[in-house]
Symmetry: C2
Subunit: 438 residues, 2 copies
Amino acid sequence: MSDVINETHDPRLKSGVPCNLADSWSFPVQNLPFGRFTTRQHLSPRLGVAIGDFVLDLKEAVLRGLFERRVASLISSCSDGWLNSLMSQDVSLIRELRLALSIMLRGDVVNDRVASCLVKRTEATLHKPVDIRNFSDFFTSIHHAQNSGKLKRPDNPLLPNFHTLPVAYHGRASTVCVDGTPVRRPCGQFLLPGKVHPTFGPTRALDLECELASYVGSGNMLGQPIRLAEAEQRLFGFSILNDWSARDIQNWESTPLGPFLAKSFQSTVSPWVVTLEALAPFRVAPASRTPDAPRMLTYLHDTNDRARGGLDIQFEVSILSDLMKNKKLAPHPIAKPKFRDQYWTVFQMLAHQTSNGCTVIPGDLLGSGTVSGSTEAELGCLLEMTRGGTLPVSLPTGEQRTYLQDGDELSITAGCHKEGFVSIGFGNCRGSIKPAVH
Amino acid sequence: MSDVINETHDPRLKSGVPCNLADSWSFPVQNLPFGRFTTRQHLSPRLGVAIGDFVLDLKEAVLRGLFERRVASLISSCSDGWLNSLMSQDVSLIRELRLALSIMLRGDVVNDRVASCLVKRTEATLHKPVDIRNFSDFFTSIHHAQNSGKLKRPDNPLLPNFHTLPVAYHGRASTVCVDGTPVRRPCGQFLLPGKVHPTFGPTRALDLECELASYVGSGNMLGQPIRLAEAEQRLFGFSILNDWSARDIQNWESTPLGPFLAKSFQSTVSPWVVTLEALAPFRVAPASRTPDAPRMLTYLHDTNDRARGGLDIQFEVSILSDLMKNKKLAPHPIAKPKFRDQYWTVFQMLAHQTSNGCTVIPGDLLGSGTVSGSTEAELGCLLEMTRGGTLPVSLPTGEQRTYLQDGDELSITAGCHKEGFVSIGFGNCRGSIKPAVH
């Protein structure tokens, strides 16, 4: 099972590579996330593993005979440079690969053959790791649901279906980009105050949404649901997701069929995929059900999920305005949501997604929806932080923000920390806002 | 321009092949739709063109030197057997291909070299023609919007955004199947009458939605909208789409984020893609705007679209129950909606989809939403025909249907007919309902 702690999580293991970069702590030998990179020598993307300040070039490692046959042929089967082929493999093989990597990269110093397969992270360009064919976005935080619901229905913020299913809609797979891709302010239709007819123009309410991306491993056949108890074997790993949203466009377009252009202009994922196995030490019970919630329907309930379906991942959302950049200020943290507060688990999301027989395929993306907690400091989007754009957030320069302005750089990082274990991180998910074209 | 009538539409052209099958009329030499097929000899899918009772094997035609160099290399570039590569090509090249096919297949009889590239349609298995990466489903019929809105809001059926934009949501690309694929009744959550908490089980309100599928040709860059005036160059062609829907699941899950599992279990497309050029004789003005509608925003308005943006396509929806099959009865027509009644055009759909900078790529599917007209005989789904499941439809056996039952075969056909032109057809889009697995 993916939630069993084994020798790859041992806190005594040291990473046999230098760790000087500020976020080196994210990628100890206990993490070993997968990504996709190019270098000046290798212009077509290849798979890599983050370790300290370096990227292990998996193709090179196979060429140099660093893996035994089964693992080597697993990696060679991913010759198109996407993570999807790896994700589609049997969980036990992926575990073998992780163990081999752990053994290869642990110790005081790696051997010369391994060292020759390492690329400095600063010399690698990281790409979108997964060829995402289908993107579903969920709505699994009760705090986000209440806070955003309150803006529309002050007396009745939470709809009854929130308690019975992880609400979701389909997002746009074609515009999922990797960390660092600029975000062009979208145009769309929205109502100006006091108007009856909409205007078309650049959004005035550009927001972020701090989310966790879950990637499907092996898929299912049409008409064959993935049961909750199997879901654990079918999620390959996770990254950070920013589901940029234009709130004014969303308000005008979303009834009756849900958000469309308010979300489809762009979403951003972080470049490293942290495996479910790496998260084993950080598995927790998910948030408690509220006392008024009806009993969960059988297909969304099992005791293992109740005991260990939660993930203790801490996010940090920061903003860096143009003025802050000019003043050489550091990014300013505006929120620190915790994933363990989510009401529905990632496994319930997958079980629900396929409960009607819908197929998922390797690399499909399930977004968690905005991650928000119960306190002011844990709200995962500006809509919540600013009460629908009415209470601005202050920046260290004295600037204020209701929604994002052109030039703002928004960054989301995430990590897992637990007494007795080595912390692991997800890296960064950034985007700078560029002016609209219209 | 794709709406210009040229020699390929000439009604005097005869198809140089036998036409005996019942739907041979659909595929005269004036149509020339593209598809993807296998035979007992050729097990990997290849591209074909429907002509009378036959399929022209494009690969074979290239091998036998039937095309000049430019067209031959165009076809050879589609070696993966999907239509997408063809769709991505420049419109002028696709027009050259159509002209070459027209010249090759017209006349009293085709020559022997051409004849040797023809496969009997009864000996070909037709596959899903397009590798669909993204599926958006629109809501462009004012009659459908009014009829379905009335069930929820009798006094206010039409929401204000209906007049200002073609409302849409993202559908599930992974479950789009081809004509003939069985449809497994999905399970999901729904409220039983008088209950407060939902039940999980097989849907009791399985519906069809008669739609037109538009396929994107060449795509756009992130952040670069496709203008309405360019949209004509960016839609490759069309097929029939049945967007199967579970109305009870939809009712429970859809607020606030729109339909999800109520639609994602399956959608069905017909196997032939009729090009925009083939439809030139059937271009019409779209439905008039209602008098109370606000002026259209500039990005959704141009005079050419107003004059010729509509498509005069006639659908026929039929049902064949198990009992009807046993009695050897023919499928029973239950609706004949006309696409010319749609309020928004397919070109407006594409302009709107990309107006926020969202990318589309070759083969992306834009569903029109249910095609419904103003009369009883022109309603494109059972929700409308039965007033939300309250007034059953009668079959020739005396059976009644509010929604679809296991064993029912639902079929949608479509064609274009106009005085002075040869009629062309889209073929068939069928699915038989199989019992739920749960």
